[in-house]
């Protein structure tokens, strides 16, 4: 994990715009991209996967091949400063939740009907709104399950402790994959974990740490110095 603060970086501030999402890898790693202060990038590179995120980066899945397709576009200082002022004019909302998209495929619709029946109406509404299903296991840990090949994030007392990669092979729908993992965890989490490849927990950025509380003249001075 490598973090670069653009205020001190040699290169001027850029925002990175994914121009193409590659499907060259057979797997897709899903990350919770962290909201970051403007002018701050977070890199994570482990072989073929990486995260590039900053305030302007589109939240999504990035796999091998994306890196080469990302175009760097310099942001003028005036725009940069305007964005900082605008960001201070409203409450700061941070959300990494992506609502579930409408489905048209019959199989997916049927899978969602089944999930709705299993979760109940309230649980299903939460799934549509948040894009994931949370289930508390017998051990007290909470598993956050995403559709398709998304990682399952494990929380203990509200703190993410690890990510589990368990997938359903074959041409199953994303919601079927979610439902399978949901039922497995509900039944026996240890059995579920026996299939999993375990990864480190995602880094949680606290709300306080991403708010730049410096006075505006001081920020402007820092930006000018960096430019």
């Amino acid at each position: 994990m490598k973090m670069i603060d653009c205020a001190t970086a040699v290169t001027p501030y850029y925002h990175y715009k994914p121009t193409h999402v590659s499907s060259c890898a057979s797997w897709v790693q899903e990350y919770d991209l962290q909201p970051a202060t403007a002018g701050y990038q977070l890199w994570n590179s482990d072989g073929s996967s990486y995260i590039i995120t900053n305030k302007y980066t589109k939240i999504g899945n990035y796999t091998c091949g994306d890196w080469a397709e990302i175009a760097a576009v310099p942001v003028p200082l005036s725009d940069r400063f305007r964005q900082i002022i605008q960001s201070r004019q409203c409450p700061l909302f941070i959300s990494s939740r992506t609502p579930v998209r409408a489905a048209s495929e019959e199989r997916e619709l049927r899978a969602r009907q089944t999930l709705r029946r299993v979760l109940g109406d309230d649980g299903f509404k939460r799934f549509l709104r948040n894009g994931f299903v949370s289930v508390r296991s017998n051990s007290g840990k909470v598993y956050q399950i995403y559709p398709g090949h998304g990682m399952t994030i494990v929380y203990n007392h509200g703190t993410p402790i690890e990510k589990l990669c368990v997938v359903l092979r074959g041409d199953f729908t994303p919601t079927d994959s979610l439902l399978t993992r949901y039922i497995m965890i509900l039944h026996d989490e240890n059995h579920f974990r026996s299939y999993a490849n375990v990864f480190a927990a995602p880094i949680k950025t606290s709300r306080q740490s991403i708010i730049d509380t410096r006075p505006l003249p001081q920020i402007l001075q820092a930006l000018k110095t960096a430019a």
Partner: protein, 113 residues
């Protein structure tokens, strides 16, 4: 005409296992089964899930459902699942005619990513 449930045997292959649906049972397109009926939901790539219902007041249908349960259990894992948000899940070793909802999952197709 005999209806089948199809599910993959090996990942990456078109080889499909078929289990016939007994003629006493019927394929159901709805979500909530009629009163006094149990439902099998068989997860498969072709249909998303195939739903088969049986009348728990009919001995012939219970016997047919048991036969189908045993056939499916050779390939898939049956879970008795709580419905309408009643979070519960119990793996079934034997057919229970009182089970309201049974979901058959392709646990063999689960693997670490």
């Amino acid at each position: 005409m005999v209806d089948f449930v199809e599910f993959p045997v090996v990942d990456g292959s078109r080889l499909m296992e078929q289990v016939p649906i007994p003629k006493q049972l019927r394929v159901f397109d709805g979500v909530v089964p009629p009163p006094n009926h149990g439902i099998f939901q068989i997860m498969n790539p072709k249909d998303g899930d195939k739903r088969v219902v049986w009348d728990s007041n009919s001995l012939a249908e219970i016997q047919a459902a048991k036969q189908m349960f045993d056939d499916l259990k050779k390939h898939l894992t049956p879970y008795r699942v709580g419905a309408n948000g009643k979070a519960s899940s119990k793996q079934m070793d034997e057919f229970d005619p009182l089970a309201e909802q049974v979901i058959f999952l392709p646990i063999k197709m689960v693997q670490g990513g």
